[in-house]
């Protein structure tokens, strides 16, 4: 009998005792156990305050497991954090409602969809980068991001990244690499079932279905791109699989978050992409090109209500002489407000 099992009654007793007073998940401690770190080291390594670490670790772990309801719940509210925005947007996109929710949350421009890597990147932001790429089906970038997360981890080792690396290689059919990661994970406490469900030849039905679904998203045509060419990557994903709904939402919302309306109009298809957000963006584009006329409004299927609000926004803007507060009160959740007032934090 292992020492762990011989302690079971005592452990269960303690667990029950403590669970009466505090039953919330402690991602901080779970992670800390995995990395064997002290509190001060955690701050040093992750570059975040403890409260932020707990929240960010929770988001990373829940997202890797695909618990989008939990991710949404954890990002509710008005946390002005790039990580929260990144995971909130991803959770919304997984539910198919990224566009409708986009302006109801803090948006740090393109960084709300893709975590860039740079000198200012904290360990947790690096750790988060892989998730969006994986869900989109971009396995090269997902693997790259997971390897970077591994590199920048304490001890250059982290179970969440090993899981991601194993998953990526299972999706792309590179079983030898997947087996390397699965073997390492098999020696980690708590990963036995996760590994056995994914062993090639013995995969659970749920895992088989997940892999099958992910393989439909993987690009079938090649393009060489540099880091940060997100639009090229998304367009390539869509060229390979036009039904990749996540990529479609990300492409359009990325255009809008970086205020690239010319690209947005190129990418936008009013017959399939329906959201008030898109209508609002189209109206700005048409106004900038002096092209607001019945034919254009009809072509882009702009509703009377949105058009009426746009005129009201314009009127209010003139009346308030550019003051932000009155505009925010009435139209703070519109793309018009974001387009006019949101500014990059260049610090």
């Amino acid at each position: 009998m292992s020492p762990i099992k011989s302690f079971s009654p005592f452990i269960i007793f303690l667990f029950l005792l403590m669970s009466c007073s505090d039953n919330r998940t402690s991602y901080y401690r779970t992670w800390q156990e995995g990395h064997d770190l002290t509190d001060s080291l955690m701050v040093d390594f992750y570059g975040e305050e403890n409260d932020g670490i707990e929240h960010a670790l929770g988001l990373i772990l829940e997202a890797i497991d695909g618990n989008w309801e939990k991710v949404e719940e954890m990002t509710r509210g008005s946390r002005k954090s790039e990580l929260s925005a990144y995971y909130h947007n991803l959770a919304m996109a997984m539910k198919g409602c990224l566009a409708d929710s986009l302006m109801y949350y803090y948006q740090p421009f393109g960084r709300g969809l893709f975590m860039p890597i740079g000198d200012e990147s904290t360990q947790l932001k690096i750790a988060a980068r892989s998730e969006a790429w994986y869900r989109l089906g971009e396995m090269t970038m997902a693997e790259h991001a997971a390897m970077l997360a591994q590199s920048f981890s304490p001890g250059h080792y982290g179970v969440p990244y090993l899981k991601r690396l194993a998953e990526v290689n299972l999706v792309t059919g590179q079983e030898e690499a997947a087996m390397k990661y699965l073997r390492l994970l098999s020696e980690e406490p708590g990963c036995g079932k996760w590994v056995s469900d994914r062993m090639p030849g013995q995969q659970s039905d749920e895992v088989k279905e997940h892999l099958k679904q992910m393989r439909t998203l993987v690009p079938t045509q090649d393009v060489v791109h540099s880091q940060g060419q997100n639009r090229i990557i998304l367009k390539n994903l869509l060229a390979s699989n036009p039904d990749n709904q996540l990529a479609r939402q990300y492409l359009l919302c990325f255009d809008l978050l970086v205020k690239d309306l010319n690209s947005f109009i190129q990418d936008y298809d009013p017959s399939r992409d329906r959201s008030r957000l898109y209508d609002e963006a189209v109206l700005i584009y048409l106004a900038l090109h002096n092209d607001i006329n019945p034919q254009s409004l009809s072509h882009f299927r702009i509703s009377n209500e949105v058009f009426r609000d746009f005129n009201d926004y314009d009127h209010l803007s003139v009346l308030s002489k550019g003051a932000m507060a009155p505009m925010q009160k009435k139209y703070g959740n519109t793309y018009w407000f974001f387009y006019q007032y949101a500014q990059r934090n260049t610090k």
Binding site: R29, S151, H156, C191, G192, L237
Partner: protein
């Protein structure tokens, strides 16, 4: 010390809380991992590392290995040579150093026999008979490499290490701890000479570190008029000159997962460095705007330079059409001047492929290089293979025994031209490891074997690549602390372009 009652209660709660949380984690882990999973490794070979049928030098470190199959109940290994019999029991076979050394010396120019008998948990038995040939040709006893995660263009905590191939001793030649986490590029030797080598530490306080004549110098091999600082290259056998490319290197990513990364140049020229005069010589005919020149090396006698060249193309859009040929141009070691008429040695159009990383054997007989479908930096190209050309006859040796279905590249010769080491991603396809091959006088190459490790599981457990392995005939006369001090305290010597 007096502890207030409130604090002691809080402390007690804290202790209880920690005990409980730890206990919960243990219980939770135990519950989740109830059924342990045994994962087989490297299913295409019954042992890992795969030492079956390899040829090893008489001075190699013990070939420790383990059996790969899942479900082994009992493993017995019997090693025989003449009257010597050594037996091991268990999945891991780890040699006693003295026992191994004695065996190799007695078996030189002969074959050691191995019998592996595996009893499986289901009751079945598997028996393997295999051999290792002990070559009398000693290999240079040191190899250096960069240890780095294969995370492409971003680094964190990299180091250049030197390993004694005769045992398991390893030391850092330069590391992140002493250089403020600087990036560093690989350590190259001139014809495997430990007294003539060079590597780079990047960053503001970095430079090219030249180890020559028992002295280490920090050099700034960069000047206005060059497309960049020096990148790839080699030191002349005399030690006075170097030949380098200066490249604007960009990394790109493939959307298709099989190749992952494409590193390409948007500009590259050649430059000769005179380490005695601190001068940079830029021959106009080797720094043309209409072609990319790169990967220059000296011939064994130092009287020629080999390099790769391709017509410029818009990259990365047409990177799949970028094919480099191998060229040769004369070099005068007295003046540092190059000839004006480069000749084609290996034509990319004729071969419909691209060549990179040529290196001449110190005996002058061979030039070995990497061939890929296209491009200049094929470490993620699964099709890229090693090849060599007989410089006397022009005959090309395909080296099938050495190559794999993964990237095989970045080789270096031993000083006697009988061994070479190269980086291969065979196996998992992600992590480069140092493999060694023997070459006989006719160009016959043996099955490669990976650098032996004391822990037979090291490669499976490691998440770092062994980058650009380079052989040397002795240990380096510097270490990471010395390099760290030079990075921080020594100004790099300035080099000027020779008029």
């Amino acid at each position: 010390m007096v502890i207030p009652i409130g604090s002691s209660i809080n402390m007690l709660k804290g202790i209880l809380n920690k005990i409980a949380v730890s206990a919960f984690v243990l219980w939770f882990c135990s519950a989740c991992g109830g059924a342990t999973v045994e994962v087989a490794t490297n299913s295409d070979t019954f042992i890992y590392p795969d030492y079956a049928g390899v040829t090893v030098p008489v001075n190699i470190a013990p070939l420790n290995f383990h059996y790969t199959a899942a479900g082994i109940k009992k493993a017995a290994t019997t090693v025989r040579f003449n009257d010597t019999v050594v037996e091991f029991s268990g999945k891991d076979v780890v040699w006693d150093m003295q026992q191994w050394k004695s065996l190799l010396v007695s078996a030189v120019s002969d074959t050691i026999s191995f019998t592996s008998e595996l009893t499986m948990k289901g009751g079945g038995k598997q028996t393997y008979e295999w051999e290792v040939y002990v070559s009398p040709d000693k290999i240079d006893p040191y190899v250096s490499y960069r240890l780095i995660e294969p995370a492409y263009e971003v680094w964190h905590e990299v180091e250049i290490r030197e390993r004694c191939i005769e045992n398991f001793e390893e030391k850092a030649l330069s590391d992140w701890k002493n250089t403020d986490n600087s990036c560093m590029n690989c350590h190259i030797h001139s014809q495997a000479r430990s007294d003539l080598s060079m590597f780079y530490v990047r960053g503001k306080k970095g430079g090219a570190f030249l180890n020559r004549n028992g002295e280490v110098r920090k050099l700034a091999l960069n000047a206005e008029g060059m497309v960049s600082g020096t990148v790839y290259g080699e030191i002349h056998p005399s030690g006075r000159y170097g030949v380098f490319s200066s490249n604007v290197v960009l990394p790109g990513f493939h959307a298709l997962g099989s190749q992952r990364m494409e590193v390409y140049d948007t500009a590259s020229d050649l430059v000769i460095t005179d380490f005695d005069k601190n001068e940079l010589i830029i021959p106009p005919h080797l720094s043309r705007n209409d072609v990319f020149e790169t990967f220059p090396v000296f011939s064994a006698d130092g009287k020629s330079i080999y390099y790769c060249v391709a017509d410029t193309l818009p990259v990365p859009r047409e990177v799949d059409k970028l094919r480099y040929s191998l060229m040769k141009v004369s070099f005068d070691p007295k003046t540092g001047k190059t000839g004006s008429r480069p000749e084609v040695v290996w034509d990319a159009q004729q071969h419909q492929a691209s060549i990179c990383h040529p290196k001449c054997s110190p005996d002058g007989k061979w030039i070995m290089y990497t061939v890929a479908d296209y491009g200049t930096f094929p470490i993620w190209h699964t099709e890229c293979d090693l090849e060599m050309m007989n410089l006397q006859t022009g005959e090309i040796v395909k080296m099938k025994a050495a190559n794999s279905d993964r990237s095989d590249t970045y080789h270096s010769w031993s000083s006697d031209s009988r061994w070479f080491v190269f980086a291969s991603k065979r196996g998992d396809g992600k992590y480069g490891r140092a493999y060694f091959c023997h070459v006989d006088e006719h160009g016959n190459v043996t099955k490669p074997f990976v650098l032996p490790q004391e822990d037979p599981w090291l490669y499976e457990d490691s998440l770092r690549s062994y980058n650009i392995p380079d052989l040397s005939d002795g240990p380096a006369n510097f270490d990471a602390e010395m390099i760290g001090r030079m990075v921080k305290e020594t100004q790099a010597e300035i080099f000027k372009i020779s008029q």
